[in-house]
């Protein structure tokens, strides 16, 4: 038997092809089938999620508007030295009028004006007001334009205006990112914003600080509860688990409105305290529309996300270890600190990173209970998207936040592993 198979050379499959080849083919087919099953979803997520995120990254550096609206001017300005402190020559003014006449026809000049207004206040009204009068000029016959333009709006006689246009003419800019960290792009390079405009770094700092406080208070509250749940008999702990899971499943808006009801000056907490006489009626606690309100409400909302991972880790700690330590004479504290606590650290780590990631990008709750002092960077992003329409800055802020979250997520993957994400 052994002789026969050796003589026949390579082992053959039923259809006569060598077994190795046949196996390789079937493996290839298996891989293909798996990929085909995944492909529709992968394409769908790529199209409706990854591409949008990429488009946001692109928006944060994209700055084609100046070059597209004023192509001739940008070209003419490239020869002008903005450091000289002198006005550009007539050729720039001529090019500018030609560009503007086209732009006004396409109604693009106001958009350019508001774009430049983010960098230099007053630009928007200057473009709008000049637009009306520039429209009457004919680029071919009415030149020279330098004096006429300065006549229309004296801003055109200020070298700073031209310097701003030149500085922001490249199609790819780091200007939004500089704005996002309270700096700005100037002809002399990156400079910090004037004092009264420096709010974003502070806001980033506050977002980080409040997320840390929320994470810490979640750890503090979740640890005893998870310990209790993990040590009680299954029947009781399952019942108590409902108290954790019910908030987890309840709509975020419901919980936020509940906290609004609780925390208001005429709200449940204040009413109860006044009724008990612990607080005077005219000295009600101010616990809404400030940082305290945001911290209380978000701690409550994110607490289940801390309890669930902690509980699943603590469940795996064998009780015999602590009993062994006690039998060898360790005090309660030593047993907890040297035996139990080190084994529960993975749960704390997993829960903390999860809560921190969730907290740092929260929008709804701070918006409703945070007032002006308790808001996060995400509220600023929403403000720039819907109110100030400075989409580039919104995209830059979003990109920075995304980078922070991805970094944290990478840490999470190192500590816990992406596959260990569990629900419910």
């Amino acid at each position: 038997m052994t002789d026969a198979s050796q003589n026949a050379g390579p082992m053959l499959a039923a259809d006569g092809t060598p077994l190795k080849q046949s196996l390789a083919r079937s493996l290839r087919r298996q891989k293909l089938r798996a990929l085909l099953l995944v492909a529709p979803l992968l394409l769908f997520v790529m199209f409706s999620f990854i591409v949008p995120i990429a488009s946001m990254l692109f928006r944060s550096v994209e700055n084609g508007i100046v070059e597209n609206t004023l192509p001739l001017t940008v070209q003419a300005l490239s020869k002008w030295d903005e450091q000289s402190g002198e006005l550009p020559e007539e050729d720039v003014y001529d090019a500018f009028v030609r560009d503007m006449v086209v732009a006004i026809d396409n109604k693009q000049h106001t958009r350019l004006g508001s774009r430049l207004n983010y960098e230099e206040t007053g630009m928007s009204s200057m473009f709008r007001r000049s637009g009306r009068q520039l429209n009457k000029l004919d680029p071919e016959t009415d030149g020279p334009f330098k004096d006429q333009l300065i006549e229309i709006h004296d801003g055109w006689g200020d070298p700073k205006t031209w310097a701003v246009i030149k500085t922001h003419s490249p199609a790819v800019t780091n200007g939004y990112f500089l704005n996002a960290v309270d700096m700005r792009r100037t002809p002399e390079g990156a400079q910090s914003q004037p004092e009264d405009k420096q709010i974003l770094i502070k806001l980033f700092g506050r977002t980080l600080f409040m997320s840390l406080v929320i994470t810490a208070s979640c750890i503090l509250l979740a640890y005893p509860v998870s310990y209790l749940l993990a040590t009680l008999p299954m029947r009781v702990s399952n019942l108590l688990m409902i108290l954790v899971l019910l908030p987890f499943w309840t709509s975020l808006l419901v919980r936020t409105s509940a906290w609004k009801v609780m925390l208001q000056q005429q709200g449940v907490i204040n009413d109860t305290l006044v009724w008990l006489g612990l607080v005077a009626d005219d000295a009600r606690l101010i616990i809404i529309n400030n940082q305290i309100g945001t911290i209380i409400a978000m701690t409550h909302i994110l607490l289940p996300f801390m309890i669930l991972p902690m509980y699943s880790v603590m469940q795996t700690i064998p009780p015999s270890y602590t009993r062994a330590a006690k039998s060898m004479g360790a005090t309660n504290w030593t047993t907890f600190w040297r035996i139990y606590f080190p084994q529960s650290i993975p749960g704390i780590g997993a829960g903390s990173i999860l809560v921190f990631i969730l907290a740092i990008g929260y929008y709804i709750t701070p918006e409703i209970v945070g007032g002006t002092k308790g808001v996060f960077i995400s509220n600023r992003i929403a403000y720039h998207i819907s109110s100030s329409l400075n989409w580039g800055l919104a995209a830059a802020l979003g990109t920075i936040l995304l980078a922070v979250v991805l970094l944290l997520y990478w840490v999470y993957d190192k500590i816990v592993g992406i596959d260990n994400v569990k629900l419910g």
């Binding site: 298996q30 979803l41 997520v45 969730l358 929403a382 997520y409």
Partner: protein, 403 residues
């Protein structure tokens, strides 16, 4: 743990001071509510000590002592501050009667290990009390909303009528408002259109992909998994920002170039966005279910001549159905509860229920929100129960299939 720990009666020198302390603590609140804190503390301590002494040394009948305390406290509560005080009084009376005998008979040691020292017992109960407080913190906000939604006034707080348990103080008018107000009804309908369609998309694509991912040889599994789970990891505000830019371009293209209906495009954008957000939940739950799936079953089916499609629908699908449904519920609740993305991507005609609540909370504060919140809480209790039942069923099924 052992219920065998022998218990013994405790001496008066332990019981009376402890009871006095508890009485003083409760008396502080009663006193504060009625004018004088020191008087309340003193009165509470004296009253409770006296009660304990009488019960233990004179009455010697636990049942009777319990009823006397409950009734006396209830009546005192009504006299002091109306029906609400009466309820609190009944509860307080029940607690103190139980507490006195719990201490005196030494029942607190019954379920603990026999060798614990007094300090350890104290810490044990202190820990329980702290945990209880945290559970109260977790559940109170949700419970507070329920009675407030029956408020007869347009306030966000308990009115004196409500505290007096006066039927006048309660009404269903906020529920009536929710069911008759056009704006609330339209947003509710929008939610009911968007969430199910988004769920169907994410469940069908997600289940297919989860089956693909659970095959034994998938090139680049980790990377694919990372991409598919990313909508859950990226903060909503960032997803919303990205989608805002992208979908407004897409929307312009569909409306302008292809001439599609504006309303239809609006729904399409929101549904696609919500479907993406639900996908990670489907992927995670279905892959978790597939881990316990016995592959030999599909091989057996193939052996008996069933094609891949038939194998899937009559063998694999029934077994992983619990996972698929609970993934679908997660996806549904994600979409049903989502505000940020719809706020950015949708237009006013796609206003969903959470959006309406959000504007309600931010601008005109109407208590109808609380009625909606109550309905949603009931809904989520239903969902929670369903998921739990499905999880148990899935575990049972897996227990039956050979490992």
């Amino acid at each position: 743990m052992a219920a065998l720990t022998p218990i013994s009666r405790k001496p008066m020198s332990v019981v009376l001071p402890t009871v006095a302390l508890a009485g003083a603590f409760a008396g502080m609140f009663v006193g504060a509510g009625n004018g004088s804190i020191p008087l309340g503390i003193l009165g509470g301590a004296v009253l409770m000590t006296g009660l304990a002494w009488v019960f233990i040394n004179v009455l010697k009948n636990e049942q009777m002592a319990r009823w006397i305390t409950i009734l006396a406290f209830g009546i005192a509560g009504i006299l002091l501050s109306g029906p609400m005080g009466g309820v609190l009084g009944l509860l307080g009376g029940w607690f103190f009667a139980w507490f006195i005998y719990w201490l005196y008979e030494g029942r607190y040691r019954q379920k603990l290990l026999p060798y614990l020292t007094a300090k350890q017992v104290f810490y044990h109960y202190l820990f329980r009390v702290i945990c209880g407080a945290i559970f109260v913190f977790l559940i109170t906000p949700i419970l507070v909303v329920l009675p407030l939604s029956f408020n007869a006034q347009d306030f966000f707080t308990f009115t004196p009528e409500m505290l007096r348990l006066d039927p006048e103080g309660y009404s269903l008018k906020h529920y009536r408002d929710f069911f008759t107000n056009n704006e609330w009804q339209r947003s509710f309908k929008n939610s009911l259109i968007i969430a199910p369609i988004a769920t169907v998309i994410s469940v069908s694509l997600g289940t297919l992909a989860a089956i693909g991912l659970s095959q034994s040889h998938v090139p680049g599994r980790r990377a694919i998994m990372g991409i598919l789970i990313s909508p859950m990891i990226v903060p909503l505000i960032i997803s919303a920002t990205g989608m805002f830019f992208f979908y407004s371009d897409i929307g312009r293209f569909l409306e302008g170039t292809l001439g599609m209906n504006k309303n239809f495009v609006g729904y399409l954008k929101v549904i696609l966005a919500h479907a993406v957000l639900g996908i990670p939940f489907v992927i995670i739950t279905v892959t978790a279910t597939l881990v316990g799936f016995d592959r030999s079953l599909t091989r057996a089916a193939a052996n008996m001549g069933a094609g891949p499609v038939r194998t899937f629908f009559s063998i694999q699908m029934p077994l992983i159905l619990p996972g698929v449904i609970s993934g679908g519920l997660f996806a549904f609740i994600t979409s049903f509860d989502e505000v940020v993305v719809v706020l950015f991507v949708g237009s006013a005609s796609q206003k969903t229920l959470p959006w309406q609540m959000f504007t309600g909370l931010r601008e005109q504060i109407s208590p109808t929100i609380l009625a909606v919140a109550t309905i949603l809480v009931v809904l989520s209790i239903g969902l929670l129960a369903t998921v739990e039942l499905l999880r148990r069923r899935s575990e049972r099924l897996r227990g039956l299939s050979p490992a």
